[in-house]
Symmetry: C3
């Protein structure tokens, strides 16, 4: 059994993080799949998905450490060619990755109590993000 | 065909790495799946899974470089709110990621000779970890 | 339905990046799967796969920032044991990860316009890389 849909998320620009856990869980229930996996895939090259304890501290810490490791800069090759100011956005998104696979068990997500599914906007301006979901199983 | 089970791993705390390759291969054999994928997902927000050449040098190097890039610190927002000393653990685990998908071929795992599946404990104290496995295919 | 094949990529050594998008899309068409997922898995411990806007600027930036964060060095435990000069290659590959899961929709890949699938060679010499593909769905 394969079920697909897209979540749309309006982001507020760089460093904006969204908790998608409940929306993904609802999609899994709609799918009718009891045992299997749900694959998230964010369409576009400047946003990422993953899991984290979704609380205000880490919501600030994660984008902050990404900006420390991969800072905004005019020196990226991407910048010198495109001048759109988001070279670091591409690199941060690639490092975190666009896809996440979470198991589906008894029609639910066996996440830890302090483990939520997030979307992180790495681009420098607000974007309308599409997160593609594929639920597979039986 | 969908087969699910959980591996339990008792970790020794921060920087402790475990080679899960043989246990995952055994679960795949139990599943009866010949062609497909096995999805690993570590439950909780302060551990990660991935692949590495599992040898004593890299077993020490990987946690060490993570501690250099994302060091223990009292300055994380997570620390200022929760004071549990593991802000870096959350960030390291999120960066490496909680899930890994490995193909299943002829009822086995087509890993490289020097490529093993690891669990890395990023938390500061020993934990009982549950790694959820989903084997799907035919 | 499960379809598997391997892509072979001859790399030019450290920092060499390849755009696999079209080859993955062709494999998906050969599979006959209309809705589902394709899982990429690079066999070996010193290469990685992911998504990026594949253009010359970022093609240079990504390996460069990886070399800044995880530089070549004789001080890694891996180096002291094996003296093969590629401790950083292992660490970079583990951080980016060996696997990527992309949805399959209407027999195609719903990637963003500026989002391509890449293979990055992290090892210090040219390698013959095998990227295993599993297309699953209906």
């Amino acid at each position: 059994m394969v079920y697909q849909e897209e979540l749309v998320v309006e982001t507020g620009g760089h460093r904006d993080m969204h908790d998608l856990t409940e929306r993904v869980a609802q999609a899994v229930r709609r799918s009718g799949v009891k045992q299997g996996t749900v694959t998230l895939f964010v369409i576009g090259s400047t946003a990422a998905v993953g899991t984290i304890e979704f609380e205000p501290g880490l919501e600030r810490d994660l984008p902050e450490v990404l900006d420390r490791l991969l800072p905004p800069s005019r020196d990226y090759g991407h910048e010198r060619a495109w001048h759109d100011g988001n070279g670091h956005s591409h690199l941060q998104a690639t490092l975190l990755g666009p896809s996440l696979v979470v198991p589906v068990c008894n029609a639910g997500l066996p996440l830890g109590t302090w483990q939520q599914i997030f979307l992180l906007e790495c681009d420098i301006k607000p974007r309308r993000r599409r997160v593609h979901l594929t639920v597979m199983g039986e």
